[in-house]
């Protein structure tokens, strides 16, 4: 029996078909292909932010943690979430998909909460974190990134992951 070409059945899911098609052909169909195609670009952006946030948190905690422990802990949390999201998106697969959804959700919540707090209570945040002012210092990319991430995950969950077992649980994002 030839492979039944998962995810590209004529008529069904025509909207997502164009890109899912290329992923299926490159042999990544056994995993949710969150790290290929446009996802590869997403992972690259996440990696840059993991590096930026991680380095920033590392320096802040190493040199002046006592000055603003809450802000610097949040900085470290942001870095950890970016690292987690990068790895989960790059690996693909079902377990990673859930981790990635969780990481993106935490990230979205973080950027909204920290963004608001940093505007309301500026004294608690003497140094900018990636999430301060809704990621203003980083061109608001930290605000857009989790939304794009969740949309991308929802799309790959529909077209990629579950097509073999027929029971791909929809991963509800946001």
């Amino acid at each position: 029996m030839p492979e039944p070409e998962p995810g590209v059945r004529p008529g069904a899911r025509a909207d997502a078909g164009a890109r899912a098609g290329t992923e299926a052909r490159t042999g990544t169909e056994t995993r949710a292909a969150t790290g290929s195609g446009p996802g590869r670009l997403l992972v690259a952006i996440y990696a840059v932010f993991a590096l930026a946030a991680g380095a920033r948190a590392g320096v802040q905690i190493a040199t002046k943690f006592s000055a603003a422990p809450v802000a610097y802990s949040l900085s470290a949390l942001a870095a950890a979430v970016y690292v987690l999201a990068t790895v989960a998106l790059a690996r693909g697969g079902r377990a990673s998909l859930r981790v990635a959804v969780a990481a993106c959700a935490v990230e979205l919540a973080g950027v909204l909460v920290v963004g608001t707090l940093s505007l309301v209570d500026a004294e608690a945040f003497p140094d900018a974190t990636v999430w301060s002012g809704y990621g203003r210092g980083y061109g608001f990319v930290p605000l857009v990134l989790p939304v794009v991430g969740l949309l991308w995950l929802r799309r790959t969950a529909r077209t990629g992951g579950g097509s073999h077992t027929g029971g791909g649980r929809p991963v509800g994002g946001g």
Binding site: T22, P38, L41, A44, A47, V48, A55, V59
Partner: protein
Amino acid sequence: MTNVLATVIIVVALLAAGHALVTALRDRAMGTGHLVVLGVLEALLVAQAVTGFVKLAGDEGPEHPATFVGYLLGVLLIPAAGAGWGVLERSRWGPGVLVVACLAVAVMIVRLNQIWSGTGA
């Protein structure tokens, strides 16, 4: 920092980003040309790291060099990681990765210079 070297790196990074963007828009995958350009960029960054450390050892630069050193070394990872990650994707999204990587390098060099000259004032 040596402004000439920093300027050269920024120009090369932006040209590389432009080159990769054109490739992505033409719907082509990454090729050898991209790897050569990234190699040149990486070599320039290594030269900058060496220069930076020599200058730091000579008592120049910012008072608290931790952030500066972080950027100096962190930026070295980007072209290599971008090349590795991008070359595995045989579609337009491979060079797309390079656009991100090269722009990140350019931004980091600008920040690096701000940190360096922060003490000059």
